[in-house]
Subunit: 761 residues, 2 copies
């Protein structure tokens, strides 16, 4: 596989609505599995095959919010490190089947096969697969369809069809199982995470109840009950209970051209939703009874209806470029599979349900990149639940600050429960700009939705915690007569432990100002609740008014941090191409002392407050920093695309859009085998809507200033805004706005106000 | 146990030549074991008891240069990290005995006992212990003496005496063993490090040959043969071979007042000295035959003679302060037990043979602190072998630089074989000032001994590698028109990843200048060997002449690094005392952004080149930095003591001396239970000789300018200088110099030249 920034590995065909391939690329099996992941926000899974596969594979089935505190493992302990790293764990395997032809397991890693087809239908959330396998004389066609239902979150369904295409009869066996013998690849101590509490089988069903193993940290132990029911034309044979596994076996002799069907419907309930083991098991039994009564077709159609409604609210159509069309739909599909705001206890891990990497936990990606996406692509409550998630975890954030000897609340870099999990000092203790983004998301939500209720209540709780953290984290430099923030890592993680990172200082200053502004609006009771004195608020003002923000007079730019300009500022284009990406070719110290920027840093701050800077300020900073940026974080391109579009650098904007649009489909960073870059997938939406279409909110009004990239004929998208659903269609002739639902709305289009109303039907 | 910078835990009595206690402090058993460590440079051991001890204990027996590459364990891998961390491993246990009275093991953790005494005779390198133990009716006196011979490096000897002090007869059993079932406490993967190749017993001896387990990194696997012989008045009973253990048992019935003796003499030979297993075992057999023929008294007296000769060359006598007297002798004793220059393949681990911590490997402590000590306290060849050690490992240093993508040689932070072992990016990749100290040690040796041969040959090889590293590691800042070194950690490890650390830049500049100077002196062949062109040497000059050295005009001080003066510069004395030591009370980020200095940094550079700075420069820097220094590295105090003395701050010099003199004896840093701070032990010698006595080498002449600290009546010390052995006696009346061996010598005493000659006998 090619490596490097210009690397590309595409294993699926181009199709506007489908992810489809007609060959099995065994050397890229993990990549295939990542891309064909499916999920329903409650649970999800990678695209491993149901049947045995003896080649390289990375199976993964995950339940939202079910995790284990893996003991921290470091080479050298630093004071303040968290005790554990929360990790999403592989759920008990309720997917695997053993398919046998004449007593031998089908195994596409070894068997001869033809007519392979694998297809993810993004419009309907259905994964199908078919092939003809040859075992000795036997020739059998196998088809599989599976989905995790968005109509009944606890339901996983899989239907298989078999046909004997050979001349002789074959004996077909299907063994269905629930198996708790699962491991994570990414765990510190090679543990199995599940204890089986009980298991049962009968002719129609398999049952297991399992609990996560004990831990030393007092975090919840999760109980999960699974009930699998089967409908099939095969004949029931035997059932088996082993340690940590239950299975049942069916058989049928198929004469030439005979067909058979096998359906497996699994209900998964957990202690996240029910209080006791009995209740969890009862719920599984009840739901199983209710759902098993329905035909596969009914279950699928309930599921597909909901997916179609989602697309109505958020589809993007791109004319004249099928690659782009597929890319944006794939991103929307995977984002909605990961999160659709139905449970404020859940969030968006960087890999969603598509891999173990990064522990499956919550990062600041959510607030920086997912919030602005969901604001436009889904109803307001979806985003509000993302904010509520942080409010729920406020006590953890206070804990984190206290661990560093600081006042207030520090939201974690990585978490399941609000308590910091990460254990690199330069990140854990220093990448504190994340705290600013938590506050910014509240501002962003409030500005976009117009909902003041959140920020005046729960939102204010969060803001006060954050403001108090910053007020304690700064120090006053007598020498400079300014407040400073030393020892931070900015969004550019290719520099660590820098002083006065402009982005961090800017956000800290803004947090103090914004919290003070909101403090003027909230109830006296709220002020009292926090014992927020005049003195403390004055201190906040004193700090924000005297915050040091590095600026270079000569270049007219904000300086990334104190000594950045002393570096050897050779632009990226002058580096030997074979040294890119730097993170695969340079030792860490070399990267650190270089000027090369992993992802937008100063420019991220300009993006956040894009309307507060003059065009020349934006241009000077963009022109200075972009040539030094290697975009080795998948979170970089979107920000640059929006800014480039804002500066009418349409070519650059499209180049940046292209890096994010098919990042996983084309395995651009050569790491999609670990899982998809789910939070980065928002980037292509942001590039189109905030970039090409210039969407902003200014003075409570939606503003648009669209252009069409040269490579496209046009594009259209849906926008959710303050209770309305808008359709925006842009082509080379102009922009067409229409209101699909809601009251008439004034929109600023290319600087001029227009009112859009629903057309009479 | 009290913690904190002012903490002190003294468990031994004050005595000028002995480390002695009459009580067993079970709560501080590990501390006792550390302090009563013994060694002979070839091997050494902590002061664990020979017999069973079921309480908290940390046994440790180590063989110089016998190590294992423990697989690197980090939380998050960084490009360039070394694959393994070399660790000193616990040798096969040849020390343990089981002593039984009436069939029950003596175990002082549980048994009733009286008359306990434990004594380390520093003059003779002998550890003795005695107690009376009560088991039921029985009352038995036990005495033990042990030493690792400096006359025969392979020899460990232990003699036990027993006396029945009770009224009834007792049955005494002694079981002697060689046991390969040993673990390190500090290992990454809970491994046992020894495979037994063969083991044997007979009436008079136990034998085992063991090999370190295989490793993935191609580093040597060590073979060790042990042969234990026994002389005893007890009767031989049985012998046992178990997996990884051989043992033999003796017994005697002792009537009231009966006595018995038991001697164990163990020879340990290794593949470091012999090529094949057969040769190793033969050597063990031969040496055992030779040594076992000698009586315990003869063996001990051979050993004691050598220790006495060492003291003649290096003893320091302090009048009027027994605590100081004991402290300095303890430090000299432990340093000589660790290293006396007999094997250039060995070096001085920070814990010597007294613990596992820091892996037992070589650090830059050797060049910075041990070299100046051994130069004065031992003949020149001792130090030359320390330099040779680095030359032997030059290829490893080239490897390290290459791993970072740099030219030249980078000597490692931690190593057994020259290849870097450490895995914290801020240390491994950034604490590169160590490379300067390797060069400085060559300069220091050359200046002190007058030996030019080394620097013109092997020393030059080392210098060229180091110079080439620096020339590639700097970058040119166009903005400042200067060469800079970004991304380093200075000697003050309480700051990481700083830019333009004055100490590092100063050393780098000096290295380039010094290498160029030596290049003018070496043979044309040497120049050719390195293909050292005029162009390259000009580049070195260009860099050294244009190196950026941060300086503050207003304060008139060298600046620790670029942004140091922007910090909140509250002095240490104004910190709440309960927050000290910072490393036990503050989270790591808090320490990093504070101005508090762990150990001399700018001042370390001034110390190295003390005669190149004016008194006012030295004073301004000392007065600025010392108040910000927390001395939480045991390596800090000596440097400060010497500089304070230089500046006539006699009280401060004595305060600093006091921190280093009894660091371990008084467990000042509350961490001596892990092992002694062996490399720091040089500090008290440096404080006395370079500090109080003002010893310098100026223009090839030894210079002294002594004073007597107020707390003392006087002091005298021996100095090895250019083939002479001098005695220096300082009291309140003045300084008396005498030449004990060698040709007459001109010495600058208090600025005036005098000639010392040997007195006629």
């Amino acid at each position: 596989m090619r490596k490097g920034a210009t690397g590309m590995k595409r294993i699926f065909e181009i199709d506007p609505w489908k992810i489809v391939t007609h060959s099995l690329d065994k050397g890229n099996k993990r990549l295939q599995e990542s891309i064909t992941s499916i999920g329903n926000e409650y649970m999800g899974m990678r695209g491993m095959f149901e049947e045995k596969y003896s080649g390289d594979t990375h199976p993964g089935i995950y339940l939202g919010g079910v995790w284990y505190p893996d003991k921290t493992r470091v080479g050298w302990w630093k004071n303040g490190y968290p005790e554990y790293f929360g990790k999403v764990i592989n759920a008990v395997d309720f997917v695997s089947l053993d398919l046998q032809v004449n007593g031998e397991s089908i195994d596409l890693a070894k068997d001869k096969f033809t007519d392979f087809s694998l297809e993810l239908d993004m419009k309907h959330g259905l994964l199908t697969r078919s092939f003809i396998v040859y075992k000795g004389d036997a020739k059998v066609q196998v088809e599989s369809e599976r989905f995790v239902s968005v109509a009944c979150k606890e339901l996983y369904t899989n239907r298989l069809k078999f046909k004997n295409l050979g001349e002789k009869p074959v004996v077909l066996n299907v063994t269905s199982m629930i198996n708790a013998n699962v491991y994570n690849e990414d765990a510190n101590y090679d543990e199995q995470f599940w204890n089986v509490l009980g298991q049962n089988t009968d002719r129609e069903s398999l049952q297991m109840t399992a609990q996560t193993i004990p831990n030393d940290f007092g975090t919840p132990r999760f109980i999960v009950a699974m009930k699998a029911v089967h409908q099939t034309s095969l004949e029931y044979q035997t059932q088996t209970k082993e340690t940590k596994m239950v299975s049942a076996k069916w058989q049928k002799k198929l004469n030439a051209n005979d067909q058979a069907e096998f359906e497996k419907k699994v209900i998964v309930t957990t202690s996240r939703d029910y209080a006791t083991r009995a209740q969890i098991e009862q719920a599984a039994a009840d739901l199983s009874k209710e759902q098993a009564a329905k035909s596969f077709e009914t279950l699928l159609s309930d599921h597909e209806d909901i997916w179609e409604k989602r697309w109505e609210k958020s589809d993007i159509i791109i004319s004249g470029n099928e690659e782009s069309q597929q890319g944006i739909r794939f991103n929307l599909f995977q984002l909605f599979s990961t999160y659709y705001g139905n449970d404020s206890r859940l969030n968006i891990g960087p890999k969603g349900f598509t891999g173990e990497k990064y522990g499956g936990a919550t990062y600041w990606d959510t607030e920086a990149f997912a919030v602005p996406f969901y604001l436009g692509a889904a109803p307001a409550n979806v985003t509000r639940n993302l904010l509520q998630y942080r409010h729920n975890q406020l006590s953890g954030a206070y804990h984190n600050a206290q661990e560093q000897g600081l006042n207030g609340a520090l939201f974690p870099m990585v978490t399941f429960n609000g308590i910091e999990c990460h254990n690199e000092w330069e990140i854990t203790f220093e990448e504190i700009h994340r705290n600013g983004t938590i506050a910014y998301a509240i501002y962003n939500y409030t500005r976009y939705t117009g909902d003041q209720e959140y920020v005046h209540n729960d939102g204010f709780d969060v803001l006060v915690g954050i403001a108090r953290f910053w007020a304690d984290r700064v120090h006053f430099s007598k020498r400079q007569g300014k407040y400073m923030i030393h020892g931070v890592t900015g969004p550019n993680e290719y520099e660590n432990n820098v002083n006065n990172n402009w982005y961090t200082n800017t956000l800290a200053k803004w947090c103090l100002e914004y919290t003070e502004k909101i403090a003027q609006e909230v109830s006296a009771k709220k002020i009292q609740e926090f014992n927020l004195t005049h003195e403390e608020r004055q201190k906040w003002q004193q700090i924000s008014q005297n915050m040091y923000l590095p600026f270079d007079e000569k270049l007219g730019i904000f300086v990334q941090h104190d000594t950045f300009l002393d570096k050897d500022l050779t632009p990226v284009k002058d580096l030997p191409q074979e040294q890119l990406p730097l993170n695969q070719h340079w030792s860490w110290d070399h990267i650190l002392r270089s000027p090369y920027i992993k992802q937008a840093d100063v420019l991220q701050g300009i993006y956040y407050f894009i309307d507060r800077f003059s065009e020349s300020e934006k241009r000077r900073n963009f022109d200075f920093y972009e040539p030094l940026t290697v975009h080795e974080s998948s979170l970089s391109a979107a920000t640059h695309a929006v800014l480039a579009a804002d500066l009418h650098k349409e070519e650059k904007a499209f180049e940046m859009y292209s890096r994010t649009a098919r990042l996983d489909l084309d395995n651009y960073n050569n790491d999609t085998d670990d899982g998809l870059h789910v939070t980065s997938m928002t980037g292509s939406w942001l590039a189109i809507v905030q970039g090409f279409a210039g969407m902003r909110v200014k003075n409570n009004k939606l503003a648009l200033a669209p252009f069409v990239p040269q490579q496209w004929d046009g594009y259209s998208f849906r926008l959710n805004f303050r209770g309305r659903l808008l359709s925006v269609t842009v082509d080379k002739k102009g922009t067409k706005l229409s209101l699909l639902t809601g009251k008439p709305l004034e929109i600023i289009l290319n600087g001029k106000p227009i009112v859009v109303e629903m057309e009479a039907k």
